[in-house]
């Protein structure tokens, strides 16, 4: 039982111990596409490496490309930092594959953001921030659904960042302070770059 739990824990918090390279890349790309399609259905944009926003209508390709931009913007700096910092030889396909797979928690975020209640509540907040706009009616159910989706989205963002860090450490064989510093630098750089690229894409 303990061994089963430990195996399950490994799959949840460090799946890259068992899967990397081409398999992880295929699975990760499938998850990115599925998140994009579900995001399109629920008008949920992943408009930055760790960003989630709801409400703006856009064609399906925009949602799909957002996922790919986020993935590439994170994986490429990590690969170059790996080349500089790691004393091991490593494969680019492991970095790309594990970083794609690390984004799977956002598939759950896309699912919990599907109900219309989230958009109604987002519009309600936006109308409160812009005095001229008309305030739409919302119910307590909308509020409860939005609060639940918000909690899940925050939890999934933390989980995804933890997975991306583990993926980086394993695929480039980097540990300790060097890993933490280079990961944080990559995350900040990727966030800025992906936001810029996606805003350019949408506008």
């Amino acid at each position: 039982m303990t061994s089963t739990n430990s195996q399950l824990g490994q799959w949840l918090f460090n799946p890259f111990r068992f899967i990397a390279g081409g398999h992880a890349l295929l699975l990760g790309l499938g998850i990115l596409l599925a998140s994009g399609v579900i995001g399109w259905l629920g008008k949920t944009h992943f408009d930055g490496v760790i960003d989630v926003h709801s409400g703006l209508e856009a064609p399906l390709w925009c949602f799909l490309v957002e996922g790919l931009i986020n993935w590439i913007c994170m994986a490429v700096p990590l690969f170059f930092f790996g080349l500089i910092v790691s004393s091991s030889s490593f494969r680019i396909i492991d970095v790309l594959g594990t970083q794609a797979l690390a984004r799977w928690p956002y598939l759950i975020t896309a699912l919990v953001m599907l109900p219309d209640a989230n958009r109604r509540f987002s519009e309600y907040i936006m109308s409160k921030l812009t005095p001229a706009a008309q305030t739409p009616a919302i119910s307590y159910a909308d509020l409860a659904i939005f609060a639940f989706a918000l909690m899940v989205a925050v939890f999934m963002a933390v989980w995804m960042v933890a997975l991306m860090y583990r993926a980086y450490c394993l695929s480039c064989n980097i540990k300790g302070t060097k890993a933490i510093i280079t990961f944080i630098l990559s995350l900040i750089g990727a966030e800025v770059l992906s936001r810029f690229a996606i805003i350019r894409l949408i506008t």
């Binding site: 890259f16 111990r17 068992f18 899967i19 990397a20 390279g21 992880a24 091991s88 490593f90 494969r91 492991d94 594990t98 394993l170 695929s171 064989n173």
Partner: protein, 99 residues
């Protein structure tokens, strides 16, 4: 099978071989012999090295056999290489101290 001890249980220093015996004629040779570098690895690591050699040095094959990902296996091999380098360095240092 008994596991060859490589660390002194009293002071935790590296052990050396003091005597070797021929089981056929009972000839016994005494001296101070270094243990081979591989014997300084843990039993798990020694098994890993053996499996790696049997897999013709293929990390992909090792990953398939152990049901682990390629980078996991490669990182373990890197750790073993690091341990062997440290063991070699320690041996060289002892050699220099003994003249």
């Amino acid at each position: 099978m008994k596991v060859l001890p490589t660390i002194c249980p009293a002071c935790e220093n590296r052990l050396k071989v003091k005597s070797l015996t021929c089981q056929q004629c009972q000839t016994e040779i005494q001296g101070q012999y270094e243990l081979p570098a591989l014997s300084k690895l843990s039993v798990d690591d020694q098994d890993f090295v053996l499996e790696f050699i049997k897999a013709s040095g293929s990390l992909k094959e090792m990953a398939r056999l152990l049901r682990l990902s390629y980078p996991t296996v490669r990182n373990r091999l890197d750790e073993i290489i690091e341990q062997l380098k440290l063991a070699e360095k320690a041996n060289e240092d002892i050699g220099k101290e003994n003249g």
